[in-house]
């Protein structure tokens, strides 16, 4: 099959068009954050920096940001520990029910968020009688972020094999020493990538969060959702949106760096 010049150009044009559609909405939000209109009207009637000033002084937004970071940090820590343990168990051992355990890790992300959300809501409130709080959000986020760490770490373990660990054991190192000096350093970048994804997933999550957050627990997505429909707040939401898009360049950059380093090592 040899594509003609015409076919190549057509495909290229379609690609450019699709990318245009992908970026148009983000561009509109960016422009709206500087618009004097409060009702998202286009073209913007005038230019103002008012919303940017207000957003950075908005106590609600900053508090929500802090809550989101706290939740994401603890959830990521849980995911890193549990994800590493379970990938070591599944990669280094053979045992009965291995496939079931594998499915168990993937399930919280494979089922729709609303199912996970309502199941946990029901579990905490009706069954356990625990009031919803920031900790119920952390538990929920920890549960569905395990899979991101698991995927990264198990792929790395598969590639590493066990020869280095065996060499370490032959040289007299105990289990702890081998893990600390041989296994862990080789897992570090996989843990970083998985942790980054877990953090991003938790930071952005809204559906499960809605069902597990207690009164007064406002993560950033909840704050955005609450303020989106208020006329005076809508432009501030645009500012937060722009900031979030700009911040999202950081993990992309790091992830890109990591993959290119991996490529060089091999």
């Amino acid at each position: 099959m040899r594509l003609g010049r015409g076919a190549r150009i057509t495909l290229g044009a379609i690609t450019v068009l699709i990318l245009g559609v992908i970026y148009l909405p983000l561009f509109v939000v960016g422009v709206n954050s500087f618009s004097t209109s409060q009702s998202l009207s286009w073209p913007p009637p005038g230019f103002t920096l008012e919303w940017w000033g207000k957003a950075f002084r908005s106590a609600g937004a900053l508090e929500a940001l802090l809550t989101s970071v706290q939740v994401a940090v603890v959830a990521t820590a849980v995911a890193l520990i549990l994800g590493t343990l379970i990938s070591l168990a599944l990669q280094r051992f053979d045992f009965f029910g291995k496939n079931v355990v594998n499915l168990l890790v993937i399930l919280p992300i494979a089922l729709p968020g609303i199912v996970t959300g309502i199941a946990l809501n029901n579990f905490f409130r009706t069954i356990m009688g625990v009031p919803l709080s920031i900790w119920t959000v952390v538990i929920a986020h920890g549960t569905f972020t395990i899979v991101t760490v698991f995927n990264n770490v198990i792929a790395r373990l598969r590639r590493l094999g066990t020869s280095y660990e065996e060499a370490s054991a032959d040289l007299g190192a105990g289990i702890w020493t081998t893990f600390r000096l041989v296994t862990f350093p080789q897992l570090r970048s996989a843990l970083f990538a998985g942790g980054l994804l877990a953090f991003a997933l938790s930071f952005d999550e809204i559906i499960v969060t809605t069902f597990t957050a207690g009164q007064g627990v406002t993560t950033l997505p909840i704050f955005i959702l609450n303020n989106m429909f208020r006329p005076n707040q809508a432009p501030i939401v645009s500012v937060i949106a722009v900031v979030l898009v700009l911040i999202s360049i950081v993990p992309i950059y790091i992830a890109q760096r990591l993959t290119s380093e991996e490529g060089q090592k091999r």
Partner: protein, 294 residues
């Protein structure tokens, strides 16, 4: 070499080295406890709750077995309409996403040079990192009656679809598009160029090659992409709140019953609908080998 000191750590290490089963148990205990207790028990109890009822006076949950909720959900006109609408939206989103993903993924994998391909992968991935709400909100601005779409279409006599089912389909397609492009791109990338050349040498024209050689090879990847768009659309209720006007999806009914109506058993029964549909879909596509492409 000096003999290792007989510290507790050393003794533990020696013991564990000779007892792999204990090692496995120690590794797996914590994650299994967490996932088992928090998640599996929660899911099973959700299933059980669907067979309970709520006392309409006290609002307390009555734990006697009843099929009322299940019957209500299966026979109620509201639930049938909303289920059909939700599945319809999920199917439309899936078809649109695959139709958009195929040409761009093919271009990325088989036409673009290495440098362009890397840039394109980043360009496609970048919106994936942008917040879900930000993207839904962005479409709210675009589709608004005073928004950019109206401004662009008005001179040629067109109008924005406004907020409603169409807007929901557009926004959901946008949200899940990267999840569909990436597996299909990986699928095209795995098709060796030599096979395309072989087909061409044997006289296969472009369309024939695409249909008979490429499509069967990327089929599992396409199905893998559809699992994302289909499953994610089925459970969504936030997007429809933001751009759907007064339209409701299954998620909205669940949400109302957990919150305002305080009828957790009914909400659980409604939540069973997407679970059943998704497991049905997974069973349907399992044979294609798509699940290994996720």
């Amino acid at each position: 070499m000096p003999r290792p000191r007989g510290t507790a750590a050393r003794k533990g290490s020696v013991f564990l080295s000779s007892h792999p089963r204990v090692r496995l148990a120690l590794l797996i205990a914590a994650p299994l406890f967490w996932l088992g207790v928090v998640y599996i028990i929660a899911l099973v109890l959700l299933l059980v709750t669907a067979f309970w009822s709520v006392d309409s006076f006290t609002g307390e949950i009555n734990q006697t077995l009843t099929f009322d909720n299940i019957i209500t959900v299966i026979t109620g006109a509201l639930y049938q309409t909303v289920t059909l609408r939700t599945v319809g939206i999920a199917l439309a989103v899936t078809v649109i996403d695959v139709a958009i993903a195929l040409p761009i993924a093919f271009f990325m994998a088989k036409v673009a040079n290495n440098r362009t391909r890397r840039l394109l992968v980043i360009a496609v991935l970048m919106p994936l990192w942008a917040s879900y709400l930000v993207k839904a909100y962005a479409w709210r601005s675009v589709l608004s009656s005073e928004g950019i779409l109206e401004w662009m279409l008005a001179p040629i006599g067109g109008h924005t679809p406004g907020y409603g089912v169409t807007a929901t389909i557009i926004t959901l397609s946008y949200l899940w598009l990267p999840y569909v492009i990436l597996p299909i791109f990986a699928g095209f990338d795995r098709v060796p160029d030599s096979m395309l050349e072989a087909s061409s040498d044997l006289g296969g024209k472009t369309w024939r090659t695409l249909r008979l050689v490429v499509l069967p090879l990327v089929w599992p990847a396409i199905i893998a992409g559809t699992i994302f768009s289909f499953s994610l659309s089925l459970g969504d209720y936030i997007t429809v709140n933001i751009v759907g006007g007064a339209s409701q999806m299954l998620g909205n009914l669940v949400y109302t019953n957990v919150g305002a109506a305080n009828n957790l058993p009914l909400a659980a029964a409604i939540a069973l609908i997407p679970i059943v549909i998704i497991f049905g879909y997974l069973a349907l596509v399992r044979r294609t080998g798509a699940l290994d492409n996720l």
